[in-house]
Symmetry: C2
Subunit: 179 residues, 2 copies
């Protein structure tokens, strides 16, 4: 992250990173599938936590309740270190390649959530939809959290955004869009 921040992602070679760590480029690729992956090593853990939280929701609760629990778990995990999150995100935002990678990590989480919902007995189409909606909320809430003060409560923003999504999608005419 330091090197990416100093020179920019594209200007930093894998050889740079490796030698900084006292290793070889070849060794770098034994630890990370590619140059992007360094910034996304935590995403499997995030996925696991979210799926665990989703699975832990009492059966019989609707899919969005389960998704909300997953979002809460994500917020707890990601909300701990705002400064780290900001630095990391600014690197990602600065590089198209990294943004692509971030998107596929999100998509992977979405697919896992959808799977989890189906395991709960949610019809396949609803599961996909609820999971995608969850990801949408995640994204918007995350962005909002990063834009706000460091002390802001990510979990709270997530919940409010989820709430808001339901309002926005339901209100097809403007006058119903109160907040």
């Amino acid at each position: 992250m330091r090197l990416y921040a100093e020179r920019g992602y594209e200007q930093t070679t894998v050889a740079d990173i490796a030698s900084e760590a006292g290793l070889t480029a070849r060794t770098f690729f034994r630890h990370f599938a590619d140059k992007r992956e360094v910034l996304f090593s935590g995403s499997e853990i995030l996925l696991e936590r979210m799926v665990e939280a989703l699975d832990a929701v009492r059966p019989g609760q609707g899919p969005m309740r389960a998704v909300a629990a997953a979002l809460d778990a994500a917020a707890v995990m990601l909300g701990r270190d705002p400064s780290f999150s900001r630095r990391r995100q600014s690197l990602i935002d600065a590089s198209a390649e990294l943004r692509e990678r971030e998107l596929i990590k999100m998509a992977t989480i979405g697919a896992a959530l959808a799977d989890g919902l189906r395991r709960r007995g949610v019809p396949a189409a609803d599961a996909s939809l609820a999971a995608e909606a969850g990801i949408a909320v995640f994204r918007v809430a995350w962005e909002q959290w990063l834009a706000g003060p460091p002390e802001a409560d990510l979990a709270g923003i997530m919940r409010a955004t989820l709430e808001r999504l339901s309002t926005v999608t339901t209100a097809l005419s403007p006058e119903a869009a109160d907040g």
Copy 2:
């Protein structure tokens, strides 16, 4: 597309493609930013059509109405050639690199829709949320359309999925999830 289908995306080199077209690899890169981009040349047009449709919605209509119009425009454009769409999508699904690229195209469209909504006076956060929700609907409907019979009506599926999203997000308890 033929080469990608025959040998797979990774096994096809840019030199292969170029020589197939009677050109040089260097020339390929003058027409496409990279090897992935060949499959996504149509996406700017799709974006334009969707934004046009969004802009054309009567002011005062809620954001989801505008998004629905954009989805409709997309459906019209993408629903024309189911066989082409299927072949193309199966190539994309087979390659992580291509899936990444597809995701960033979707994200770009989402950002453009959010922008369009803000131009309509929709509050920034609601705009992001409505746009992301639209993309979610797009994705799920698209997948469903591809899985179904070729004669299925993409626009109809989009509308139904949007409808369904509102039901799913609103219904936080299971008993409310009729539909």
